[in-house]
C-alpha cells in the first residue's frame, strides 16, 4: 500500500489512484472533482425505488449485495433507478466493488450525467475501510501553528514560544543530538482523529531551519536523511517562556496542563528560559518523561510515595 501523502487533496482522481481503481469514464474530468465528506452511501434502498432521505452528496458505493440485487432486476427498472440516482448532481462518483462491471445502460446514464464510474478490485468491506481511512486523513481539519516540531525519542514534541526565544536553536541542537526535525517555524497540523494530531512542514519550508544571524540552513543537506522526518504525531508541547520572577512554574510535575489544538488536548510544559539554559536537554528529558507517563510510570508519584512512607514511620 502506498503511504498517505498528507498534502493530497480529496479529489476523485487522487482517490482513484490511491485505491488502484479502474476509471470506466476517463472522458470525465476527475482531478478537480472534490469529495466533501468521508461518509459514503450504499444505495440499496434507492435501487428498490425508495429515495426519501437519500444522501445524494456522498460517494455511492455499489457492493456485493447491491450487485446481486441489480442482477435480479429487469433492464428498464435498472435504467429508471439509475437515472434517478444520477440526477443528484452532487455525487462525487459511483464505485463498484469486487471488479464488477456495470451494464452498458448504467454506463450511458452516468456518462450523460457526467458522473464518474470507478471499479475497485477489493471486496466491499476492504474498499470501504481503506477509503474511509484515507479520506479521514486528507479531509482532516487543519490549522497552522508557529513553532518547531521535532521527533525526540519517538515523541512528537512541539516547541512553542515567542519569536526569538530560541526554538530553532533548540531544534538544531536536538538534531545534532540525533533527533529528527519535522518542521521549523511553521507547523501544519491535521486532526486525523479525536486522539491524534499529525504535524508536518509546508512543502516550501521542509528541511529548512532559520538561524538568526546565519540565515536559512538545510538540515537534510547538512545532516542527512536521518535528521529529518516528513510527518509526526504530536504528543506534547514544550512552551518556552522568558523567566519572570512573579510567574510561577511547575516545580513537581504532579499536575498535567493541557493545551487545546483543533479540539484535541495535548500535554504542555511551560519552561522558563534564561540565557545559558540547555533547552535541548530539557526537551529530551520532557520527552522521556512523557513516554514514561504513557507507560504508566510517574516520577513525582513515586517521590510522594516515599515521602508518605517516611511519615508513617
Amino acid at each position: 500500500m502506498p503511504t498517505t501523502n498528507l498534502n493530497q487533496e480529496a479529489t476523485v482522481a487522487n482517490l482513484c489512484e490511491r485505491m488502484n481503481m479502474d476509471n470506466l469514464t476517463p472522458e470525465i474530468e476527475i482531478s478537480t472533482r472534490k469529495i466533501p465528506t468521508y461518509s459514503l452511501n450504499r444505495p440499496s434502498l434507492q435501487l428498490t425505488g425508495f429515495f426519501k432521505g437519500f444522501a445524494g452528496g456522498r460517494i455511492q458505493l455499489i457492493g456485493y449485495a447491491e450487485q446481486v440485487y441489480l442482477d435480479t432486476l429487469e433492464k428498464p427498472v435498472i435504467i429508471e433507478r439509475f437515472e434517478k440516482i444520477a440526477s443528484y448532481d452532487e455525487i462525487p462518483c459511483i464505485i463498484f466493488t469486487r471488479g464488477y462491471h456495470p451494464c452498458d445502460g448504467i454506463m450511458e446514464i452516468c456518462r450523460a450525467h457526467q458522473l464518474p464510474v470507478l471499479v475497485s478490485p477489493l471486496s466491499t468491506s476492504e474498499t470501504i475501510s481503506e477509503m474511509t481511512r484515507w479520506l479521514r486523513v486528507v479531509l482532516a481539519p487543519r490549522t497552522t501553528i508557529h513553532g518547531v516540531l521535532v521527533d525526540v525519542y519517538g515523541e512528537g514534541v512541539l516547541i512553542t514560544g515567542d519569536s526569538g526565544i530560541g526554538k530553532s536553536e533548540a531544534a538544531l541542537e536536538l538534531v545534532k543530538r540525533g533527533h529528527r526535525l519535522v518542521s521549523d517555524d511553521v507547523v501544519e497540523i491535521r486532526k486525523v482523529s479525536d486522539e491524534t494530531l499529525v504535524g508536518l512542514a509546508p512543502e516550501m519550508t521542509r528541511d529548512f531551519i532559520e538561524l538568526r544571524g546565519i540565515g536559512i540552513i538545510n538540515v537534510r543537506a547538512m545532516f542527512g536523511f536521518e535528521a529529518v522526518k516528513q510527518s509526526q504525531n504530536i504528543d506534547m508541547i514544550v512552551n518556552l517562556e522568558e523567566y519572570k520572577k512573579e510567574k510561577k512554574f511547575d516545580r513537581l510535575g504532579l499536575e498535567d496542563n493541557y493545551k487545546e489544538i483543533l479540539g484535541n488536548k495535548i500535554r504542555i510544559h511551560n519552561i522558563p528560559i534564561r540565557p545559558g539554559r540547555n533547552i535541548a536537554i530539557i526537551v529530551e528529558s520532557a520527552a522521556v518523561n512523557n513516554r514514561a507517563k504513557k507507560m504508566g510510570y510517574s516520577a513525582p508519584e513515586e517521590f510522594f510515595k516515599r515521602v508518605n512512607a517516611e511519615m508513617k514511620m
Binding site: R142, S163, D184, D185, V186, M204
Partner: protein, 82 residues
Amino acid sequence: MTSRDVVVNLSHDTERRMAELVSLAGEFASRIHLSGQDKRINAKSIMGVMTLVSYSGDTITVTADGTDETEAVEAIADFFAC
C-alpha cells in the same frame, strides 16, 4: 487588536521583499499575523513568510495585537501597497 485586508504583492524581487517584510514586522512590539484561507502566519518568521508565496495576488488579513498595533498594521499595509 487591529486588522486590515491587504493584497499579497511579492511578485518582484521576492526573496528580498520577504526578508524586508520580516524585519519590518520585527520592528514592532505587537504580535503580527497574516492569515489566509487555512493558514495563520507569524509575520516575524521568515519561514512563515516564505509560505506566503502561494497567496501571491490573493487578499489576506493582517492582524496586530499589542501596544503599537495601529502603526504595525499601517506599516505592513504600506509595504504591500508598493
